[in-house]
């Protein structure tokens, strides 16, 4: 029936199963929510179990009937991790099954718009982190960085850093989502879950290079063109605590 709330485990497979459920029962859910989210209306809520084969079947169907591009966008939008996006995703998939690839052009439809905008937002954040993330070199030559993203961007930045720093041992720790990207020199990257980490002290050499970067940063701005407003709109304040040149 329409108006029901789907509750799932928060995984992408789970989301696919919600889409499957909606198509199967021919109903439009009022909301789709992650069971781990605190604000949950338990009224008219139905739990959707996450089944791998169902999820795979759904994903294949989206790729074939709707479009492979749509599946790609769903995987990215999913990383935003909020109920509004999950709900839009189910409706987006319904639209895709109804109209086929043409649904990708229906940019004035609310669900399509939400998925497109969320996808863009998540990709933008990932792109920001490619630039704003800062490594510090610790004893043994390991590079470690910490980030606090709104969306779960590790899967989106993994390839970039693994490719660029393939000769290095590095770790990127996502504080918000409790996950870390680990990469061994000349090896592969993988994502593991860790509630928290403790870092060793920084070496003198490291502090030296951090200082040199601050020297460069403080020198390169042209005094006569100081523009705090432009700086604030280009470099959102939430990225700064982890950036060497702004951290104390």
């Amino acid at each position: 029936m329409d108006g029901v709330t789907y509750i799932f485990d928060g995984s992408f497979d789970g989301l696919m199963c919600c889409c499957y459920e909606s198509m199967l029962k021919k109903e439009i859910p009022a909301a789709v929510a992650d069971e781990n989210e605190p604000q949950l209306s338990m009224f008219f809520g139905r739990y959707i179990a996450s089944e791998a084969d169902k999820a795979a079947k759904m994903a294949r169907g989206i790729g074939r009937r709707f479009s492979p591009e749509a599946l790609g966008m769903l995987k990215v939008a999913y990383l935003a991790g909020c109920s509004a996006v999950y709900t839009a995703a189910v409706n987006f998939v319904r639209l895709g099954f109804e109209h086929g690839p043409a649904a990708m052009d229906m940019l004035s439809d609310d669900s399509v718009n939400t998925i497109f905008c969320t996808c863009r937002r998540v990709m933008n954040e990932a792109h920001h982190y490619k630039g704003f993330l800062r490594f510090a070199k610790y004893d043994g030559g390991v590079l470690i960085a910490e980030i606090e993203p709104k969306s779960f961007v590790l899967p989106l930045i993994a390839n970039h850093f693994a490719d660029r720093f393939n000769t290095e041992n590095f770790m990127i720790y996502d504080e918000v989502h409790g996950a870390a990207l680990l990469h061994e020199a000349y090896g592969d990257a993988r994502i593991v879950y860790a509630a928290e980490i403790s870092l060793p002290d920084k070496t003198e050499d490291e502090k030296n290079y951090e200082n040199l970067w601050r020297v460069f940063y403080n020198t390169i701005g042209i005094e006569g063109r100081r523009n705090a407003k432009l700086l604030n709109s280009s470099l959102p304040k939430r990225f700064r605590p982890r950036m060497t040149e702004f951290a104390k």
Partner: protein
């Protein structure tokens, strides 16, 4: 001098070079080497002046034998001089790169001894980086005017982007202010780089191990407001440069008075930031919106409108072109509408395929309806509230906040007609 001091001196000396992008070439990493390049460019930070920082921007040396009037490093100035060794630069680049502070290196230099000698120092540095250090990140190298073709070729094989600075917008100004830099010494290398890039691109598609030649193209830079050329002359020059030398970018740098010199504006003259901004806006119109330079400015109107950006200015002065029907117009026509850019134009064309677009749809597509509504029709209808009244429209189009940001006096009386050339000259270029 220790590294920190050298870095202070030589990044301070390099900061007026506006070019800052790290875009233009996609290069995957190579196993065993560090680094890759992203075609879109990545901004690693932003400076206090709001400009993007993506490269380690330094001079090899600031001990210059030339005496260009506008330059802080000119021979006749009494300032601290320093020179990096190739190993110092390579080491710094690698350590900064490793920490994800930068996309790569931007290396320029003062003229040390001779143009060729300077080029050789730079080539040594880049060879070290690419070879011994195995660096695969982005490198932008400045070619010294007057350098030998063979040296240019060697530099371009190591760098991703190369540039030669035009410095000033006319031959006369160049001869007056920077007589050490001859016009031919600047243009000849630009021509030879253009040819090298064309050959390099051709060879890359035909031979597996073709030698690279500046795969991210060529750019240039000129100083705005140091000399009396008007906006039209500068824009025409820009159009010519893009056409003749197939540049990727032309950069404009608002003149920051650093020297007391009778040939140049006084030290207390504020830099023409609004003018620089308008030039970049016009540059975008040339490259992405299909405008010609003579459509934006001509002999009768050689200065930018201070209150309106060039696109809105064109729209206001060509009422015969509007309103544009968004459901039928082609891409070129859509791009002429204030509030519609290349991305929203493409989205409109896409959305049109599945049905007519109305004004609510347009807003979702990213069109700036606040501006566009005065210039369009949606299915034959004017959008809500789109009655063209001068008093209401001009404040909306003029981007007052933008003007205030550049702190020019506000004009109480908005007028449909362009501000007089005199007013604009006084406001934008300072007294001569």
């Amino acid at each position: 001098m220790d590294i920190a001091e050298k870095l202070t001196v030589l990044s301070d000396a390099a900061k007026y070079d506006a070019a800052c992008t790290s875009s233009g070439v996609d290069r995957a990493g190579a196993k065993g080497k560090i680094g890759n390049a992203a075609a879109a460019g990545i901004c690693h930070s932003f400076a206090s002046d709001g400009r993007c920082i993506s490269l380690l921007k330094i001079l090899m040396s600031n001990a210059c034998m030339y005496d260009c009037g506008y330059c802080i490093n000119r021979r006749s100035n009494d300032i601290k001089r320093a020179t990096f060794t190739p190993h110092e630069i390579a080491g710094l680049t690698m350590e900064f790169y490793r920490r994800n502070y930068i996309e790569g290196l931007f290396l320029s230099s003062a003229v040390v001894g001779s143009p060729d000698r300077t080029m050789e120092l730079m080539i040594d540095t880049l060879s070290l980086l690419r070879g011994e250090y195995g660096f695969m990140g982005y490198i932008h190298a400045k070619v010294i005017p007057g350098a030998d073709d063979a040296l240019i070729e060697r530099l371009a094989a190591l760098a991703d982007r190369v540039s030669v600075n035009i410095e000033l917008p006319s031959q006369e100004s160049l001869a007056l202010i920077a007589p050490d830099k001859k016009k031919d010494a600047i243009l000849r290398p630009m021509g030879s780089i253009r040819n090298g890039i064309a050959i390099g691109a051709y060879e890359k598609t035909h031979y597996r191990h073709a030698k690279p030649f500046a795969p991210a193209g060529q750019s240039t830079q000129m100083i705005i407001g140091a000399t009396p050329e008007n906006d039209m002359q500068i824009l025409r020059l820009t159009e010519g440069l893009y056409g003749k030398y197939r540049l990727k970018r032309v950069f404009y740098s608002a003149y920051m008075p650093v020297n007391s010199d009778s040939r140049l504006p006084a030290l207390n003259v504020p830099p023409p930031l609004l003018r620089e901004h308008r030039l970049y806006q016009a540059d975008w119109l040339l490259r992405f919106y299909g405008f010609r330079a003579d459509e934006i400015l001509d002999d009768k109107n050689p200065w930018f409108n201070e209150l309106l950006d060039p696109k809105c200015n064109w729209a206001i002065n060509h009422p015969e072109f509007f309103p544009v029907e968004v459901n039928r117009a082609d891409r070129e026509a859509l791009l002429r509408v204030p509030g519609i850019g290349p991305k929203s134009a493409d989205r409109i064309l896409l959305a049109r395929r599945s049905g007519p677009v109305n004004e609510y749809g347009l807003k979702k597509l990213g069109v700036v309806m606040k501006r566009a509504k005065y210039f369009i029709l949606c299915g034959g209808r004017r959008p809500e509230g789109a009655v063209f009244r001068e008093k209401e429209v001009l404040p909306v189009l003029s981007g007052r906040k933008e003007i205030e940001r550049f702190s020019y006096p506000r004009y109480e009386q908005f007028s449909m007609f362009r501000t007089t050339a005199e007013d604009t000259v006084k406001a934008l270029t300072g007294e001569f």
